[in-house]
């Protein structure tokens, strides 16, 4: 089957076509905790073109912070690995944030997503990371394979801004 250029909704035939991607950011950085703040700042700078509300901005920064922290604390708990961040913007003001690692993976994603579940109580993790990501996005998907890594995808459509 020939590959279609660009992303369409061919995998989900019943759904309306997706709005076209208007801009994209790709970053990769080592899993150092100092990069949590860097990732948030980069997201904030990139999203400025959509003029999000302060609440939308803080919510997305917080969700991203959780995803990046998971890579640092869990995926690469034994050392330093690469965290890949990609942010795509669609014409309908949808923001798609993808955080990918090649770390140890999550054996049971459903369990990991439960509120208060943590494998690192000694590290004072609250177990609320996925709950926060879920609350601050319209849709969260987590795909993981033990030994191969995890990809977290968060989708949020920003509100329409009034034209001045």
């Amino acid at each position: 089957m020939p590959r279609t250029k660009g992303k369409n909704n061919s995998r989900h035939p019943g759904r309306p076509p997706l709005s076209p991607v208007t801009n994209e950011l790709k970053l990769s950085f080592p899993s150092l905790s100092v990069n949590e703040g860097f990732a948030r700042a980069a997201l904030g700078a990139f999203l400025a073109q959509l003029d999000p509300t302060p609440t939308e901005l803080v919510d997305l920064k917080c969700a991203l912070s959780e995803a990046v922290t998971n890579c640092i604390v869990h995926a690469y708990s034994d050392g330093i690995g690469t965290v890949k961040l990609s942010v795509s913007l669609r014409a309908d003001r949808t923001v798609i944030i993808e955080v990918r690692d090649l770390g140890r993976g999550i054996p049971d994603v459903a369990q990991a997503r439960e509120p208060l579940y943590t494998t690192d109580a000694a590290g004072e993790r609250s177990g609320m990371g996925f709950t926060v990501m879920e609350s601050f996005s319209d849709k969260l998907s987590v795909v993981s394979k033990p030994g191969h890594g995890t990809t977290v995808k968060m989708i949020k459509r920003l509100s329409e801004r009034k034209k001045l």
């Binding site: 905790s33 948030r40 920064k61 917080c62 912070s65 640092i72 004072e124 609320m128 709950t131 609350s135």
Partner: protein, 116 residues
Amino acid sequence: MIKSNCTLTFEKNPPDSITVSVSGEIDHHAAVSLRRDTDAVLWDYAPKKLTIDMSGIEFMDSSGLGFIMGRYDVMRKLGGVLFIRDPSPCVEKMLKLTGFDRRVTVIKNSKERQSV
């Protein structure tokens, strides 16, 4: 140690209470030194009451909740109590979202609040 975007000051309120004021951004990176510095003070003075002033927090993710619950446990070991004072809007949102506002005592409007 790379500098974090978070500062901490503490104040002794004799006879047996301590106020810790945290400002800036609390994420996992900042929480490491925040935890170490706060606990150094706690084990030193063993207060009966710890108040964490969070009016100056501009950003907090779930690492901040971990920090709060961790201090709650330390205070329980010391036979004392923990209060969260004047949480900024982002802190309040996180506490509410995760139900932590029902697990810790929150004091609001202890002084004139800055406009939100």
